[in-house]
């Protein structure tokens, strides 16, 4: 019924180290080696952290959806712990994404924020999952908490593809997704290094945070000792 998520205790730390290494090298290349972009100039260097953050935020929240579905089918507590972890990491990356986007928007669009489809759907996504974290905080019964938050996660996850396709479906200030055919070869390396760097960091954070949630669940699920045992 219960898994402590601790079979490979060193694995998250190794992945965390790899993430820091990739992110440091990718950021160095992005800041000091890659050339400035033809129209955006130096400001385009924000892309090397903004785009990987966006990919991984959506990935973390998609993983939360997968965890929610598996929990509802299997009622295995380890999937509840993984769901809690991936929602929290997804919200942190989503918040970071909005901050980076805002900083990039000011010199390119002239405003810190605009209620454009991509930005609005991203803000809705972050607040929806933040609400699920709040729900988990306020419900004390682990079974109800897991069930309600799994259902809420599935509902909130509807916004993930909407965020991704918003720039195609509606007229948006935000540019379309880039692909290897639309990104210059000189920009690939830092972008991919940072994408893997944040992917490794996200994975390590989810593993460690799921371990915290598992340990807390173990404490909550163990029945309190009888009065005689405590004396």
């Amino acid at each position: 019924m219960y898994d402590d998520n601790n079979r490979f205790p060193r694995l998250p730390w190794i992945i965390l180290g790899l993430g820091v290494l990739f992110l440091a090298i990718g950021s160095y290349i992005g800041l000091f080696v890659a050339p400035p972009e033809a129209l955006m100039g130096q400001v385009q260097r924000i892309m090397y952290v903004h785009v990987p953050t966006a990919w991984n935020a959506l990935l973390a929240l998609t993983f939360a959806f997968v965890c929610a579905v598996i929990f509802l089918f299997k009622s295995d507590w380890k999937w509840d712990a993984r769901m809690e972890a991936s929602i929290e990491v997804g919200v942190v990356l989503g918040f970071l994404l909005c901050c980076q986007g805002s900083i990039w928007a000011k010199p390119t669009w002239g405003v810190w924020w605009d209620w454009d489809p991509r930005l609005t759907t991203t803000a809705v996504l972050v607040f929806a999952f933040l609400g699920i974290l709040a729900l988990r905080k306020f419900v004390e019964d682990p079974a109800r908490r897991a069930m309600w938050s799994a259902v809420a996660t599935i509902i909130a996850s509807v916004d993930v593809p909407i965020v991704y396709y918003s720039v195609r479906w509606w007229n948006s200030l935000h540019q379309l997704q880039s692909s290897p055919s639309t990104v210059s070869r000189q920009f690939w390396l830092p972008l991919r290094m940072n994408a893997f760097g944040i992917l490794f960091l996200m994975t390590a954070f989810i593993m460690l945070r799921a371990r915290v949630a598992s340990m807390r669940l173990k404490y909550e699920l163990v029945p309190p000792p009888a009065l005689g045992e405590t004396i």
């Binding site: 100039g41 400001v43 960091l201 404490y219």
Partner: protein, 44 residues
């Protein structure tokens, strides 16, 4: 004038700084909570 946005390094530094600060603070909070739960488990 060549159509390129002039300057912009301050925005780049701000974006990378925010990224580093958020990731470091969140990572530290996860590690602190992990230590707290481990200590509670060992105590029990």
């Amino acid at each position: 004038m060549n159509g390129m946005i002039p300057g912009g390094w301050s925005f780049v530094v701000a974006a990378y700084s925010v990224t580093a600060i958020v990731l470091i603070i969140y990572g530290a909070s996860v590690i602190a909570r992990l230590r707290q739960e481990t200590a509670r488990r060992n105590h029990d």
